[in-house]
């Protein structure tokens, strides 16, 4: 048996991913060099990485601001989504009314609200956190509600035969059933949270990657702009990986998380 077939699948797929990204950058570099593309249109990856590393502390500070806004907004959005979903499942009479309001909020273009919030609340982190929370809230709400409602009828029969109350059915059956759905929502919303924070910063901020991108864009300083984009892409990937890692540990009973040996 060859060594590669013995390696865990995740290690192999990581190497494949790194390999593909390297190829992508090499082609990009080659195109820029061969076609002699001006730096204000498309900088070479080498140029972007040089910019990134020579301005390390500057980018670190901006990243810290954006990530903390995104994380705070994500946490608030997730907590609010889970709490509201729980209330709606426990008190089903409220669902229609509240869902209409939630869809109303969801349908409002956040790009339009973001400048307003900045106008009302200033250039600080608060409007960014609110925008991020609004963006992440809805997918969590919808996924958790459907998770809690899509309980296998055989389980409901069992709990009813035990004379379990609505709260007990919620506590022991509906809530745990919804956890995998929560992770599905997180995988969608975590990258969205970063986008939310950046879009909000774009409309006016005292710091953060969105602010950096806006400044770089205004000055057509594309290496600076791309460096920020690279950080965001990497952070988004990292968010996603962390969530998948947590998912395989917390939702261990899901078929795709079961490690058959």
């Amino acid at each position: 048996m060859s060594e590669s077939t013995n390696k865990p699948k995740s290690t192999r797929s990581l190497w494949i991913a790194i390999f593909i990204i390297l190829i992508f950058f090499m082609i990009w570099e080659a195109v820029v060099v061969l076609m002699n593309t001006p730096v204000y249109l498309l900088p070479a990856p080498s140029k972007i990485f040089t910019t990134l590393f020579t301005n390390g502390s500057f980018y670190a500070e901006a990243t810290a601001i954006t990530l903390s806004e995104a994380l705070a907004g994500l946490v608030i959005g997730v907590v609010a989504g889970v709490l509201l979903a729980s209330v709606l499942v426990l008190l089903p009479g409220l669902e229609d009314g509240v869902m209409t309001l939630a869809i109303f909020i969801k349908s409002t273009p956040l790009v339009a609200i973001a400048p307003l919030l900045t106008l009302w609340l200033g250039f600080g982190v608060l409007p960014k956190i609110i925008i991020t929370a609004l963006l992440t809230f809805f997918p969590v709400l919808v996924n958790i509600i459907s998770g809690m409602q899509r309980v296998d009828p055989a389980f409901l029969d069992l709990f009813r035969s035990w004379n379990a109350t609505r709260w007990e059915i919620f506590r022991y059956l509906r809530a745990p059933t919804a956890v995998p759905y929560g992770f599905t929502a997180l995988k969608i919303t975590a990258p969205l949270a970063l986008i939310g924070a950046v879009v909000a910063e774009w409309t006016g901020a005292s710091g953060g990657l969105g602010r950096v991108m806006w400044l770089a864009y205004s000055n057509l300083n594309l290496p600076f702009l791309f460096a920020a984009i690279f950080i965001l892409a990497f952070a988004g990937m990292l968010f996603y990986r962390v969530i998948v890692w947590l998912e395989t540990r917390i939702v261990f009973w899901q078929p795709n998380n079961i490690n058959h040996e």
Binding site: L158, S161, P176
Partner: protein, 253 residues
């Protein structure tokens, strides 16, 4: 425990009215093994669900020692086992039983421990495993252990082993019968399998379909263990088959 079913009818409404059961009168004594047999859609599962108070009858009533089925469920008198083992996948074997115990044993005088229940169904070694690591047969054993913990005087079983392979099903049915003899509850066992019904039951109710009615009610007085090569066994098998075939034919005329 005396169970009486009086002028019971049930109709499902979803766009149109589908009568599922019509005018059922039955009474049962405790400690009897009753098999409910009939073709698909003949209302036998509906009767079981009505008995478990999972649905409310359109007409008529079910009483357990004079109490309503709702009261019987409140008092923990009824244990339910369906084709799906309904094991909570995030809890291991022991914790699945602990949850059942939490819900059911406050009503029960019995103090059968989780360990005892596991030993009775032969799952002691698997107590720390999660349901997804168990075979279909082991999962249904665990569901049976949950029923044992409840120590209810009435067991309602809706084709509990139907999804298992034949060998496992035979083995489990045999084990269930052994366990039944220890706790001696009134068992109501929905099945498609006439052989199983004759092997186990004290009483066999044969259903005719659309709407579900009792076509025949057999008291089986053969001693245990019963074998297919016994004359009485074959006679009863022939009679039940004939009734089911006649009812099937009447359906198509």
């Amino acid at each position: 425990m005396r169970i009486t079913i009086d002028t019971l009818s049930h109709t499902f409404y979803n766009g149109q009215a589908t009568p599922a059961l019509q005018n059922i009168h039955l009474s049962f004594e405790s400690g009897k093994f009753v098999a409910l047999i009939g073709s698909s859609g003949c209302g036998k599962s509906t009767l079981l669900r009505l008995m478990a108070n999972l649905i409310t009858p359109t007409l008529g009533s079910i009483h357990y020692n004079g109490h309503s089925s709702r009261q019987a469920v409140l008092d923990g008198q009824i244990a339910w086992l369906s084709q799906s083992p309904a094991l909570l996948p995030w809890l291991n074997v022991e914790k699945n039983l602990a949850l059942a115990q939490k819900f059911t044993q406050s009503n029960s005088p019995s103090r059968l421990s989780i360990g005892d229940a596991l030993a009775l169904v032969g799952l002691t070694a698997a107590s720390q495993q999660y349901p997804f690591t168990l075979s279909g047969g082991m999962q249904q054993r665990l569901a049976l252990a949950r029923v044992l913990l409840q120590h209810a005087p009435v067991w309602l079983m809706d084709e509990p082993f139907a999804a298992l392979d034949e060998l496992t099903r035979e083995k489990l049915t045999e084990e269930l019968w052994q366990i039944w003899q220890v706790q001696m509850p009134a068992v109501f066992w929905v099945t498609h399998n006439i052989y199983e019904a004759i092997k186990l039951a004290d009483r066999i109710l044969v259903f005719s379909p659309q709407p579900g009615q009792i076509a025949a009610d057999f008291q089986v007085e053969m001693p245990y263990p019963r074998h297919e090569d016994q004359v009485q066994f074959q006679n009863l098998l022939g009679q039940i088959r004939l009734i089911l075939q006649q009812k099937e034919l009447e359906q198509h005329v």
